[in-house]
């Protein structure tokens, strides 16, 4: 809990900074396990229900771990008009998962998001902070394969 304690310290154990605390907690743990929800509640003097209320309100927070690569597929207006739905079908059938799920090998998770603000490059997806634009079905499959290869290489080195 050391890293989280440091965050709580910096945030003054103040419930007014709850969102920032939870964001940092998620950066540390990858998601918000229930133990952390309870811990943050005890450290900020509010009920676990209230912390849970905040954690479930905002789409950024996840209560379950995600895969190595989190695919955020943009479903904003411009992306929608330029074929984002078809790309969702492509990703789902290629990876065998639906929106909100993670592949069995823990490699990919898919989440559709509202708008990434890169509309001129629509359709767009963001994978772990890297933005990919002007997507086509072929490009998407290429990117997924590249990431698979990258993960295998990293796994081999580890």
């Amino acid at each position: 809990m050391q890293a989280l304690d440091k965050v709580l310290e910096e945030c003054g154990h103040d419930a007014g900074n709850l969102i920032t605390i939870l964001q940092n907690a998620q950066d540390i743990y990858g998601y918000l396990p229930s133990e952390i929800i309870y811990y943050v509640a005890s450290q900020t003097g509010i009920s676990p229900a209230r912390v849970m209320g905040v954690a479930t309100f905002y789409s950024q927070f996840r209560l379950e771990p995600v895969g190595k690569y989190l695919i955020m597929l943009c479903k904003g207006t411009a992306c929608h008009v330029n074929g984002a739905d078809t790309l969702e079908d492509v990703i789902c059938s290629e990876l065998g998962i639906t929106n909100g799920q993670t592949t069995k090998d823990g490699l990919f998770s898919l989440k559709t998001v509202a708008c990434l603000g890169c509309c001129s490059l629509s359709p767009v997806m963001m994978i772990n902070e890297e933005v990919y634009g002007l997507l086509t079905s072929d490009k998407v499959l290429g990117i997924l394969n590249d990431l698979r290869r990258q993960a295998a290489e990293e796994g081999g080195q580890a």
């Binding site: 103040d14 789409s59 950024q60 207006t77 708008c115």
Partner: protein
């Protein structure tokens, strides 16, 4: 000479980061030219973009500079012969995209280095704040903003001076100045560009406003989905603090104001000012009842003023150039300029800043180059999920709060999504309701349940299960939701439905009565059809059909059974005689 690579989010997504690294890798110790970065100039359709400067003079603009062109660029600059890179020069017709604009909010975007305060100061940066703190009273600042006619650029168009004055007049010593950088409208990225490319302009505008209302803390609430904007903003805040433009006793004038930001966590409703305040307080972003208005009781129930990023981005210019100059542009009721994010089926998409009063047609066709692929324009969506669709025959409507409001749409924050003949308008209404029903905070019945019910009706319609009376049912729902919803999200959620019913009634009727989608977009209503005059009976389609839906003997006309057809399109892509079509 200096090679400046545009590295806003769009540029990086288009490969500008790789181009920058490639150029850096090719530079040698004895090279006399420099390499630098800038933000987004809004010409997104040409990214990655490189500007070649001699001092402050722009020599040439190179476009679509992918990493494999890096060597060409370096060679041209090194040998002082830019013509070598002529294939990358921007075309005059594309240059017109920028030259037809009037940039005030975006005046530094794509020109300065957003990570260097001196780059901002070279272009009169922080001179407005200096002028305000040393020669003007808060009342004089508010008066200047009043003269300018600046109105809220977040979409509501409320007179900015009025809000500042209300916060100033509220009793109390503890006041807050807040910037709404939650830019949640899908299709809008004007604010992202300002924060990424000119963060100091935002800081300066906010500090001027903080002085005007008497705030002791200025806070930016920025959405989490903008990581690069957050990085640049963080750096800018540090630099501004070092230079003494924020903090205690600024410029020795006795005015003190702290500055920080908070990242949102993914909730469209937090763009609503009272929901934003709740979120700033660490709670679920659920709107409050107004009154009291934030000017009287906002953040921590203290007087607070909230404005959009673009509103603040105009302030420093207004102070330095005078409110009258700003008011000289625009129309009677809409002064100054407005930034639009032009996207969708447009040939030249990106950021367009123009004086109010020009027509939608001018923006879409003269600046944006019209529809991609020479398709027919159908409508333009303004104002995101709170806005409406303006049909092609109303494109001569002038960009003005009132004029746009009269069409049923709104000015909105600036999202302008262009649609063509292949876009189904009923599908667009459903798309927006899908969004707003998911983003509804759930506090009030009308929005929470109403948006869901509207979505259900629209879903039935696009799936081919529309009933007689559905349009009337939708209208009834729309008006009661507008009446009963607590905040702007619910009150405006019906707008896309109302405008599409108003202008595209025939599309709704076709979906409901004929189970037909005129734009051929709604998958469940698509009909694949073999033209008997063109069919040669080669059996290619029947053999490839995964659903066994095609019947026919060799050399005789084939037929698709609509009951078995799964509308995958395999037959169409395999027919060598163009005999199969979709409708």
């Amino acid at each position: 000479m200096k090679i400046v690579v545009g590295q806003g989010s769009c540029g990086v997504a288009a490969g500008a980061g790789k181009t920058y690294e490639a150029i850096r890798g090719l530079m040698q110790a004895q090279d006399s030219f420099e390499l630098g970065s800038t933000g987004c100039n809004g010409m997104c359709f040409l990214e990655p973009i490189i500007d070649i400067y001699e001092g402050h003079k722009l020599l040439k603009r190179l476009v679509n500079v992918s990493a494999d062109k890096a060597a060409l660029v370096v060679d041209a600059v090194r040998s002082n012969d830019l013509e070598k890179a002529a294939e990358l020069f921007i075309k005059p017709e594309d240059e017109a995209f920028l030259t037809q604009q009037t940039r005030i909010a975006l005046r530094n975007c794509g020109i300065i280095d957003p990570e260097d305060i001196s780059s901002y100061r070279e272009r009169d940066g922080y001179k407005a704040l200096e002028k305000v703190l040393t020669t003007m009273t808060p009342e004089e600042v508010i008066e200047e903003i009043k003269v300018s006619g600046l109105a809220g650029r977040g979409g509501a168009g409320f007179p900015t001076w009025f809000k500042w004055n209300a916060a100033r007049s509220s009793p109390g010593e503890e006041k807050y100045l807040i910037c709404n950088a939650d830019e949640g409208d899908p299709g809008a990225f004007m604010d992202r560009a300002v924060i990424e490319s000119d963060p100091h302009n935002l800081i300066e505008g906010m500090m001027i406003a903080a002085y005007a209302i008497g705030a002791s803390e200025a806070i930016v609430y920025v959405r989490a989905e903008y990581p690069l904007a957050i990085i640049h903003l963080t750096k800018a805040i540090e630099q501004a603090r070092e230079a003494g433009f924020i903090g205690k006793n600024i410029l020795g004038t006795g005015f003190s104001c702290e500055f920080r930001y908070m990242a949102g966590a993914g909730a469209f409703v937090c763009g609503e000012e009272t929901a934003l305040i709740e979120s700033l307080e660490g709670k679920r972003g659920m709107p409050r009842l107004k009154p009291p208005f934030p000017a009287a009781a906002g953040y921590k129930m203290k007087p607070s003023n909230i404005n959009n990023v673009e509103t603040f981005a105009n302030v420093a210019w207004i102070i330095l150039n005078g409110g009258e100059k700003f008011a000289a542009m625009g129309t009677e009721g809409s002064k100054g300029t407005k930034v639009f994010a032009l996207t969708g089926k447009i040939r030249r998409g990106g950021l367009v800043e123009i004086p109010m009063g020009q027509t939608l047609r001018h923006v879409i066709f003269d600046i944006g180059g019209g529809i991609r692929g020479d398709k027919k324009m159908k409508a333009v969506q303004l104002g995101g999920p709170s806005g409406g669709c303006v049909p092609e025959n109303l494109l001569d409507t002038v960009i003005d709060y009132k004029a746009l409001g009269a069409t049923g749409a709104i000015m909105g924050s600036g999202g302008m999504v262009v649609m063509d003949e292949d876009t189904c308008m009923v599908g667009m209404a459903k798309f927006f309701l899908d969004f707003t029903s998911k983003e509804s905070c759930g506090k009030c019945v009308h929005c929470r349940i109403g948006t869901r019910r509207m979505l259900e009706v629209l879903t039935r319609i696009v799936e081919g299960n529309g009933k007689e009376g559905d349009i009337e049912l939708l209208e009834e729902l729309c008006y009661s939701i507008k009446d009963g919803a607590l905040c702007g999200l619910g009150q405006t959620a019906p707008n896309p439905v109302l405008t599409t019913i108003r202008y595209f009634h025939d599309e709704y009727e076709a979906h409901i009565r004929e189970k037909h989608c005129p734009a051929a977009e709604c998958r469940d209503l698509l009909m694949y059809y073999i033209d008997p005059d063109l069919c040669k009976g080669c059996t290619a389609c029947a053999r490839k059909c995964p659903a066994d839906a095609i019947e026919g003997q060799v050399k005789s006309v084939h037929k698709i059974d609509p009951a078995k057809c799964i509308k995958c399109g395999t037959c169409l892509s395999n027919c060598k005689f163009g005999a199969i079509s979709v409708r």
